[in-house]
Amino acid sequence: MILVVLGALFGAFLFGQSSSPPAAATAPPAIVTLLPPSPPSCPAGQEPWLGACVPIPDSVVADDGSINIVVEAWNACDGSPIPHDMAFLWTCRTDVDYLLGHADPGVFGHFADVSPGFGFTWTHNGVRHHERVMDKRQEPAGWQTPIADATVMVQTCTDSTGLTDWILDAGEAP
């Protein structure tokens, strides 16, 4: 009797196993490629940045070897001028932050001379500012070390939330 019952159960197990559907073919994983948005075509003197056209700053190397970059500080989001006299220039390098300078006297200091070493000049509201390029790591010893990489970006402070907007500027190292 017991053997009959066990045989029936085992037979039901085998019958259920043979009745199960075959595995469906596994669909290949969908490949999603994220393409960067097409840069807008910008008029002469401007370049695409964050989906908008922003002015291309002039960049020159002075006769004394200093790097003079004329930068108009603007809002990276809408291209409007920054509402107050505050802007920072940073290198594009990600390994270390170099604070090139700024134009907000009393906060971090103000560098009025350009030479010797590297420096940049930028204009805001018709006032030309001259800044020396200094190594941020020297803080607060006096920002005495010029840096050789003049590729900079402009960080503008446009609202009370802090430094939020970024603009790239490609400068040339001597």
């Binding site: 019952v5 197990f13 259920g16 196993q17 199960s20 559907p21 075959p22 595995a23 073919a25």
Partner: protein, 32 residues
């Protein structure tokens, strides 16, 4: 009553076999 229990056990065995067969087929497909 006994037949009812035996029928339930048989159905349970069939279900276990069906599930095992499905699992085995998927595993073989994944191993390929």
């Amino acid at each position: 009553m006994t037949l009812f229990i035996l029928g339930g056990l048989t159905a349970l065995a069939f279900l276990i076999g069906w599930l095992y067969g499905t699992y085995d087929a998927r595993k073989d497909s994944a191993d390929e």
